[in-house]
Symmetry: C2
């Protein structure tokens, strides 16, 4: 079952990232009983960490909290189509269901590009539900990048 | 220039991982002037972190040390062909040269499977040098998995 309220929280996280000057992407990990285990947003600039994407931070936080390196039965909500790195960690963590918002022609690796889950070297493929909260997620990104262009150098 | 001594240190890291019961893969980040910035090995079990592969940890450590989220001009030595997640972070970090040991038919995403660097959604492709220290790296992995099979359940 898709809980739009979970994507709403991912969108709040994305908005928070934008307010810090980070690319607005947010993610939430949800337990099998529907409770939110972790929430995160992009912090690559703040943390000086190229891996600090929303999905990566949310998965790492959930694993740390639960004391396990896999999240079978857990769902991930993320506002943007995951990149290759994040699709890779989603597979490694055995996330059961992946809900995402906007497609990402530029960096996406689920429905385009590397299509991570379609290869036998990906040891797990989650159920995938694209387009959840797509308009809001895409709107946040569009406004963010328009703002960057409008900022004097 | 390939410094086999750098791969030797990555192999030492891989050996250290094996001694802790982790899959033996090691990695080293080397600066443009040839000095080692960081070294790491797999710690997915110890850290309860599915992202804690050798390459990921070495790149994150180097970025933290240098206070930057990109490593243009820096090289990565890793004993095994990177998976999709690690190839993704290598691209995100703008690693200049990737030297790796053994190919990985099971999880590799550089020369097989997702072939991360061949898609336009990968914003960077390092120079790639496979097969550096391949026999030693593959030998460590083979011995490790043979040991697991021989361990009584």
């Amino acid at each position: 079952m898709i809980f739009t309220s979970h994507m709403d929280i991912a969108l709040q996280e994305a908005q928070a990232a934008a307010s810090r000057g980070e690319v607005p992407v947010g993610a939430v990990v949800v337990s099998p009983n529907g409770s939110i285990i972790s929430r995160a947003s992009n912090r690559t600039i703040e943390k000086n960490d190229p891996s600090a994407h929303a999905e990566m931070l949310a998965i790492r936080a959930a694993c740390e909290l639960l004391g396990q390196d896999r999240l079978a039965g857990y769902d991930l909500y993320v506002t943007l189509e995951p990149c290759a790195m994040c699709a890779g960690v989603i597979a490694a963590a055995r996330i059961s269901r992946l809900y995402y918002g906007a497609s990402d022609k530029k960096s996406g690796a689920v429905e385009q590009g590397a299509r991570i889950f379609t290869h036998p070297q990906s040891h797990h493929k989650p159920e995938i539900y694209p387009g959840v909260g797509e308009d809001e997620a895409a709107g946040l990104l569009k406004a963010f990048f328009a703002g960057l262009r409008d900022t004097p150098p």
